[in-house]
């Protein structure tokens, strides 16, 4: 027998698939939606996991290490780099003065924490933050129009872009600090600060911070300094002796990669007073390794959703096969081979899965968009929705393959349709 044109048979298959999708539009749409959810979820879980890991562990934070009170390195990093968590305690100001002059240290910036405004942390620091510090290589903080760094002798503040956006504070606006890291209207400090600078967005945790001179923290009413171990309260117009001062942490940038290792040896292994969180990426990696099971659970859940979606393809197609038996018999009587019918069903299930997967990108964009907003508002870290990730290719391909496999059982049922008994009653 001479063969017929392959393209003609293919046209027949495509016509069959097109018509079937239209005839069963509702079940097709519902199945596609479940595929979209599954595909979007898988892409989101993998992408968010890798992006957050990269952002928190591999992203540039501008510092190599954090020096703080003896205790948890993770707590120290979360508290100072990401402005989360409570402070593990203070260290004497003299440690800052000493380490600042250490030949291995390129830059040392002190942080003093303890107050907030509407839940945004107020961090006392020095003007080095604006003059010397690079939050990313070659990138220093920049002020929005009309802004400038605070004068360390005045009650002036520089606010991050996210703070400005959320609180409505702008240049020239005045505000009072509130004691503690959580906003409590009863804990209002008397001192009034004026905003002299609003930073341009950096997409880093700094966007969520209010910066004031470190001296301001020391002189805030109600603040007690214990640099010497004994309580000391600053008095207006009188200089505070360095031995009474404390800092929450010192943010460090080393001159070379070897310096971190040597400082780690000196402070963590031999010293007993302070903790050096170094390298910051490794500290955060520990956190992600500890909570790795969450990712595994989420991954498992998303795989289960994929299974459910695959089952929904199988069920919806299988249910239509019975009502389509006569159609298959007619098509067979017109010359369609069993394998043509089989291929049409497999193609149909694959197309449903592929279209569902493409719709999954919408789900993915929504999930990632919401997650990005949440992570940004909670940490200041911004995820890149459009960042390429292999899962964005693998998931649609995988889903289409799963769809094709889901179609096998219904396709076999269609394949075995008997022509004669499904055409007309035998007479």
């Amino acid at each position: 027998m001479s063969g017929i044109s392959g393209s003609s048979t293919l046209s027949g298959i495509f016509l069959m698939v097109r018509r079937s999708l239209r005839q069963h539009a509702l079940s097709t749409a519902i199945t596609m939606f479940s595929i979209a959810l599954a595909s979007g979820l898988v892409m989101s879980v993998f992408s968010i996991n890798d992006q957050t890991r990269a952002a928190f562990t591999g992203g540039e934070v501008g510092f190599d290490a954090v020096l703080g009170a003896r205790g948890s390195q993770l707590q120290l990093v979360l508290n100072t780099v990401y402005h989360l968590e409570t402070s593990p305690g203070n260290i004497p100001y003299e440690m800052y003065a000493t380490i600042k002059d250490n030949p291995r240290v390129k830059l040392a910036i002190p942080y003093a924490l303890g107050d907030n405004y509407q839940g945004f942390r107020i961090v006392g620091s020095t003007e080095d933050l604006f003059n010397e510090f690079e939050y990313q290589k070659g990138k220093k903080f920049e002020f929005q129009k009309g802004g400038r760094a605070f004068d360390t002798a005045r009650r002036e503040a520089v606010i991050g872009s996210f703070v400005a956006q959320k609180t409505g504070l702008g240049l020239g606006d005045k505000f009072n600090a509130y004691h503690g890291l959580i906003y409590d209207p009863n804990m209002r400090h008397e001192e009034e600060y004026v905003v002299v600078g609003v930073l341009k967005p950096t997409n880093t945790p700094s966007d969520r911070v209010i910066w004031i001179p470190i001296e301001g923290i020391y002189r805030m009413t109600g603040h007690v300094l214990r640099g010497t171990g004994e309580q000391y309260t600053a008095e207006a117009g009188k200089e505070i002796p360095d031995e009474h001062k404390e800092v929450s942490a010192v943010m460090l940038k080393f001159k070379g990669p070897q310096d971190g290792m040597l400082m780690d040896q000196t402070i963590n292994k031999q010293g007993k007073v302070a903790t050096l969180a170094w390298p910051i990426g490794r500290v955060m990696m520990d956190l992600f390794n500890k909570i790795g099971w969450v990712t595994r659970v989420l991954t498992l859940v998303s795989y289960l959703v994929v299974l459910v979606a695959a089952a929904s393809i199988l069920a919806s197609l299988y249910n239509t096969i019975n009502e389509r038996r006569r159609d298959f018999a007619i098509l067979r009587s017109l010359g369609a081979r069993r394998r043509t019918i089989f291929s049409a069903i497999i193609l149909e299930s694959s197309i449903i899965a592929l279209m569902g997967s493409l719709l999954g990108f919408v789900v993915y964009a929504i999930i990632l968009g919401v997650t990005t907003l949440v992570i940004r508002s909670q940490t200041g870290v911004v995820l890149d929705i459009f960042s390429p990730h292999p899962i964005l290719i693998l998931a649609p391909i995988g889903m289409t393959v799963v769809g094709a496999i889901s179609g096998i059982f219904p396709a076999i049922k269609a394949y075995t349709t008997d022509i004669a008994s499904n055409l007309t009653p035998i007479s």
């Binding site: 017929i4 044109s5 046209s11 027949g12 010359g335 369609a336 081979r337 007479s427």
Partner: protein, 227 residues
Amino acid sequence: MAVLEITDVKKTYRSPTGERQTIIDIPKFAMEEKAHVALEGRSGSGKTTFLNLIAGILKADTGQLLVEGTDIQSLSEPSRDLFRAKTIGYVHQTFNLLQGYTALENVELGMMFGRGLDKEYAVDLLGRVGLGDRIHYYPGQLSVGQQQRVAVARAMANHPKLVLADEPTGNLDPHHTHEALSLIRGICREQGTALLLVSHDDEVLQEFENRQSLADINLAGQEASTA
């Protein structure tokens, strides 16, 4: 040359009681090229089975079934499917149109699995059966008579050598019956196609010069009627 030659063809079915029941037992039957033959067959006489055997939809237990010189029995199933699509047109009593496809698509599908799609010819065929203005109508939007015409157009889609018609007028009123028969026979004559029609309707059978009774050629039917 004969378009159809049947020799010693037997077809049995297993009855619900488990016994084998012979439905078709035809020692000899032949049709010449371009011939129009009407077979009279009452309900349950095995006429659909007979046509399905000729079309290669069913396979006989024994015997030889030559269509256009090809023993359809000896072909593999895929080859039979292709042979049927290319050589045989089939008009069913219930028309067996695909409800989700337009009139034009029904005809085109007949081509796609046969000699290949010829869109122009498909439109032309529908025009010739009087449906030129309804090619994009779905079967549900057409009258019974119009559906029958789509079925005829589809049967002719691959320039068949033989058209099988199984009670093609069974669902039509007497007026449309004559019209439908004229259409089928006219289009078969135009294309030089042989026509084998089975019916139990005397009015239909009377329109054919060449009439035979299935009971006369099918020994199984004779056994059943004499039993």
